[in-house]
Structures are given as structure tokens and as C-alpha cells.
């Protein structure tokens, strides 16, 4: 395969590095160092570091993007004085938070208090790692990537609730409970919407799902599922109008009330990684991933890293849509949120599954002359 993939690139880097490091060691060690296992190990490490770095930089750019967009929605400018157009603002924020005192309230549970932000962060980054972003950037091309991503995505309430309970604060506890209830409630419609996509594409592998969208993107036939998925994602991501766990007006800062410094930065970054992951999932499942429609001139799709570029443009635009919603809607209440989830979203999602099945059936009808696109 001639294309450079992320893993082959990190492999090359590892081999290159090891070959040079090997200079300074005597022969037996040298031989071991340049052997395949070590190269593979180092390559995995580099692979991980690249993913981590990419997720962090993307996250920070996402925060910048949200602040600038939100500023324009609000008739103001947003961060603009630190770095060009405020690009360095979030790096400053991050560095500052890492340097600040990190302390645990005296009555908080030590293990839970320290563990939950770390675990929340790790799981969020892992999802980013396994999602394909282009044909080359393909972390875990497992047959069931989609399921794996959603499973890890739903770990979050556990850690949030753990952290909220451990901080021994009433606001945090209420926020954690709301968060858990809300995330669990919206798993169902999200999964049903995903089932619609799976029915249409016939695979749980995200790469296959993207490739299945070469003729048409799935948002058109599965518009209902897209709506359900977007709503569910808003709820899973705890953004306005569903940001009840962090509802500032009643619960100070929600479940991270007692967190400060680095741990707060972990929560914040992990949140934005989740926003990124949510946007990426929307792009993968409904907006054709890294592909562009065929009528787009090939000059736009043939430059290096074009796949990643267009994918990120789509993901940031989707996130811009989330920001738009945040700028214009109020927060709703827990009971209304749950009612919306169970009474509206689940039936809609079921309906969209039926629609997807109908579309597949239409494909199979020889009358229409379409080729069934099952398999993969």
C-alpha cells in the first residue's frame, strides 16, 4: 500500500531514531535495539504521543474556535490579545492551570478525587485515538470501532459521578447525579440512531461506513437519525441546552465545583476532547468523513493531507453548529430533558431505523437498478 498511514509514519520515525541511537551502544545491545520488537514498541509509543498531541492541539484549537464564534454571536470579539487573534490564549490558560496549586479539600475522598479526572481524561483521549480521520489516520481499524467508541464514550458518567461524590460537596453531588442520569438516558437514542447508520452501511467499522458514503452522504436519507444523534450528542456532551450538570445558575460549577488547578484542566480538556469526538462521530456517520462529493474539483482533494484537512473542516463546522445552539437556547430542566429523551428521541430513532431499512430495501429492489451496498 503506497499511502503513508499514521502507523507507518511512526514506524519509520521509530526505526530512524533507533538506528541513530544505536550508534552509541556496543554491538549486542545495538542488535537488540534495532530488532523488530523494539521498533514496534517505540513506534506504538510515538503513535500514542502523536495521537495525544493531536488531540490536545485540536482540543485547544476547538476551545479557541468556540470562544471566537461565541464572541461573534454575542457581538463581541472574544480572546484576541494573547498571540495572533488570541490563538495562544488557551495555551496560556492551560499552562497557568498546570502551574496552579492542586489541592484536595480536607473532607474529600482522596482516591476518587485524584482518579476521576485522570480516568475521564484518559478515556476521552482513547476514543479520539481509535477514530479514523482519514485513510491514513486510522488508529484502530477494528471491525467494531463504532461500538468500541460508543462504549468508551459512555464510561464518562461513572468517572464524573465518582469525582462528584469524592469532592464531598452538595452541588457537585447533585451535578454528578444529574450527569449520570442524563448520560444514561441518552445512550438509548444515540445507539438507535447509530443502528440506523449501521443498517444502511452494513458495518460497524467506521472506515467502511465512510467508504459506504461515497455515493451519497447518510444525512440525507437518515435526516431523522441525524437530528436524534445531534440532540443525543448535545446531551452526552453536556452542552447548553442540556448542560444541567454544570448549570451555573443553580449548581455553581456543577460536578467540578471543588476541582481547581491541574485537575480542573483535565476535566476541561477532557470535556473538549469529548466535544471533538462528538463532532467527529457526526462527520463520520452522517457527513461522509474525509470524502468530498465527486463533483468537487480534484484539485481540492488531491493535495497532501487533504483527507485530514477536509475532515477537520467538517468537524469544526459541526462544532460551530453546537456553538450556535449554545448561543441561542436556554437550559432545560432535568425532568424535561429525560422526557425529551424517552418520549421524543427514542421513537424518532426507531422511526429512523425503519427508514434506513426501507432505504436498504429500495437498494435491493432490482427495479431501481441500484447495487446493494451491503457487506464490507
Amino acid at each position: 500500500m503506497s499511502t503513508i498511514t499514521l502507523f507507518s509514519a511512526s514506524d519509520a520515525i521509530a526505526a530512524f531514531l533507533l538506528a541513530h541511537i544505536a550508534y552509541v551502544f556496543p554491538a549486542p545491545v545495538k542488535g537488540w535495539i534495532t530488532s523488530g520488537d523494539v521498533v514496534l514498541g517505540l513506534a506504538s509509543l510515538i503513535f500514542g504521543v502523536i495521537l495525544l498531541g493531536a488531540s490536545m492541539i485540536n482540543t485547544i484549537m476547538l476551545i479557541w474556535w468556540e470562544r471566537k464564534l461565541l464572541g461573534r454571536f454575542m457581538d463581541r470579539r472574544g480572546a484576541m490579545h494573547v498571540g495572533f487573534a488570541g490563538l495562544l490564549q488557551n495555551f496560556a490558560d492551560g499552562l497557568k492551570l498546570f502551574r496552579k496549586d492542586t489541592f484536595r479539600p480536607s473532607k474529600a475522598d482522596s482516591l476518587g478525587f485524584w482518579m476521576s479526572p485522570t480516568a475521564y481524561m484518559v478515556t476521552s483521549v482513547v476514543i479520539f485515538g481509535i477514530l479514523p480521520i482519514s485513510t491514513g489516520w486510522n488508529g484502530g481499524s477494528l471491525p467494531l470501532t463504532l461500538l468500541l467508541a460508543l462504549v468508551i464514550f459512555s464510561f464518562a458518567p461513572l468517572f464524573i459521578f465518582l469525582g462528584a461524590w469524592a469532592s464531598n460537596n452538595k452541588y457537585a453531588l447533585i451535578g454528578g447525579m444529574r450527569s449520570a442520569a442524563q448520560m444514561i438516558a441518552y445512550e438509548v437514542p444515540i445507539l438507535l440512531a447509530v443502528v440506523a447508520v449501521v443498517v444502511l452501511s452494513g458495518s460497524f467499522n467506521l472506515t467502511t461506513i465512510v467508504l459506504e458514503q461515497r455515493n451519497y452522504w447518510f444525512w440525507a436519507p437518515l435526516f431523522l437519525a441525524l437530528i436524534v444523534f445531534l440532540t443525543g450528542m448535545l446531551a452526552e456532551m453536556e452542552r447548553i441546552p442540556f448542560d444541567l450538570p454544570e448549570a451555573e445558575a443553580e449548581l455553581v460549577e456543577g460536578w467540578n465545583t471543588e476541582y481547581g488547578g491541574m485537575l480542573f484542566a483535565f476535566f476541561m480538556l477532557a470535556d473538549y476532547v469529548r466535544y471533538l469526538v462528538g463532532s467527529i462521530l457526526v462527520v463520520l456517520l452522517f457527513l461522509g468523513g474525509w470524502t468530498l462529493p465527486t463533483y468537487v474539483p480534484s484539485a481540492l482533494t488531491s493535495f497532501p493531507l487533504a483527507g485530514i484537512f477536509w475532515f477537520m473542516v467538517k468537524a469544526y463546522l459541526v462544532f460551530g453548529g453546537f456553538v450556535w445552539v449554545r448561543a441561542s437556547l436556554p437550559r432545560i430542566r432535568t425532568d424535561q430533558l429525560l422526557r425529551l429523551g424517552w418520549m421524543r428521541m427514542v421513537p424518532l430513532a426507531l422511526l429512523s431505523v425503519v427508514l434506513a431499512a426501507l432505504v436498504v430495501a429500495a437498494h435491493c429492489l432490482p427495479v431501481l437498478g441500484c447495487v446493494p451496498s451491503m457487506g464490507g
Partner: protein, 208 residues
């Protein structure tokens, strides 16, 4: 797919060492049994290790002098001041106006947070009474280091028009250390921004 991509069998010695002999030698030969250990590599190692050591020492020295990482953190700290979202009295309205569309304090990275754990700037925007004084101190103590305090307006600075009253603390500097005072009753939002810029200057000079 990429996950199953086999290891590249041969890595071409694209940019090899300085020695021509080494550069010409195929890479996998080095370190194979039977190939003699080349003296020049040892020399390179001997050169490399003290050089690396020296570089590391100088780095550590610079770090100890506060020239390496501290300026970066200082830059970060002064450019992202999170004030506590707390309105005391009249100045709180101008405090809010400073975050409104016209002045937009977020341009400087000033974002109010509601929880003192996540803040590093306490803007005392209004009259402090004895009844709330201990709560103010508690909030200040809940903020993690490094932290700063701004006394915004006359009431926080010196009690203002109410300093003769029985219930008012005549100046918040009696309770917590104040870094910057802002005059005005209430100060214009520009004045608040000016105070924040002045605090940034102070952090830059004083280091923190």
C-alpha cells in the same frame, strides 16, 4: 490496513553519522557479531556525553535562575486571570458591564468562574460589611496559589461613602492583601480593564 503494515525491513541509512566509513557501511551490519566495534563510535559517545551533560547543566542553571520556564509560566499566568464571579455592590454592575459586548474583558483572557477553586483573581467589587468579611476571607483562602486581589472602587479601597457606617469594613486591605486599587465610584469598565492590565504588569515585574 495500516495496523497490519509489516515493519520496513530495511531502513536506508539516509543521514548517517559524520564518518564516511560508517556512512558507507550498511546499517544492519553494525552490531552484528563479527563486526569490530569501531573506535570512532566510542569517541563520538565520549564527545556526546559531556556535551549533553554540559547542556543539561546549563539548562538547569538557567532554570534555577528563573530564566527558562518561569518566564513562560509567568506569561501564562498573567495572560489568563480568572476572576471570581461574585457581585458585592454597585461596582458589580460595572464589573458585569466590563464583560459585556462593549468592553469584553475576555479579550485579555479574563473569564469569570463561579467556583473559587478555579480562580486566581479576587475582584472585590463593592462594599464589604463585617457580616460578609469572614466569607470574603474564606473565599480568598479557597483560591489556590498563586492568587491576586483587586480592590475595585472606593468602598473596597477605603470604605468610600459608607466608611463611617457601623457595619462597613473601611477598606478591604484590612482583610486580605490587595495588589491593585482602582479608584472610582464605581470605576468605569475601562478603569477596571486598566487595573487588570496594571496587575499583569505587576505580575510581570514581580514574578509570581
Amino acid at each position: 490496513m495500516s495496523g497490519q503494515t509489516p515493519l520496513p525491513a530495511k531502513v536506508p541509512p539516509a543521514s548517517a553519522g559524520p564518518s564516511a566509513a560508517i556512512a558507507d557501511m550498511p546499517l544492519e551490519v553494525i552490531g552484528q557479531p563479527g563486526v569490530p566495534f569501531v573506535e570512532i563510535e566510542t569517541l563520538r559517545a565520549r564527545e556526546f556525553i559531556p556535551a549533553a551533560k554540559e547542556a543539561l547543566t546549563s539548562l538547569l542553571k538557567e532554570q534555577a535562575n528563573g530564566k527558562l520556564i518561569r518566564p513562560v509560566f509567568n506569561w501564562a499566568g498573567r495572560n489568563s486571570l480568572f476572576p471570581l464571579h461574585w457581585g458585592l455592590a454597585c461596582c458589580a454592575i460595572e464589573f458585569a458591564a466590563a464583560f459585556g459586548a462593549r468592553w469584553d474583558a475576555e479579550r485579555f483572557g479574563v473569564v469569570p468562574r463561579s467556583s473559587p477553586r478555579q480562580c486566581d483573581l479576587l475582584i472585590v467589587n463593592g462594599t464589604v460589611t463585617w457580616k460578609v468579611a469572614h466569607k470574603l476571607i474564606a473565599l480568598y483562602e479557597q483560591m489556590p496559589e498563586p492568587k491576586w486581589a483587586i480592590a475595585m472602587g472606593n468602598c473596597a479601597t477605603g470604605g468610600g461613602p459608607f466608611r463611617t457606617a457601623y457595619s462597613v469594613v473601611p477598606g478591604v486591605d484590612k482583610l486580605i492583601p490587595v495588589d491593585v486599587y482602582i479608584a472610582g465610584c464605581p470605576p468605569r469598565p475601562e478603569n477596571l480593564l486598566d487595573g487588570i492590565l496594571r496587575l499583569e504588569q505587576l505580575i510581570k515585574e514581580r514574578g509570581a
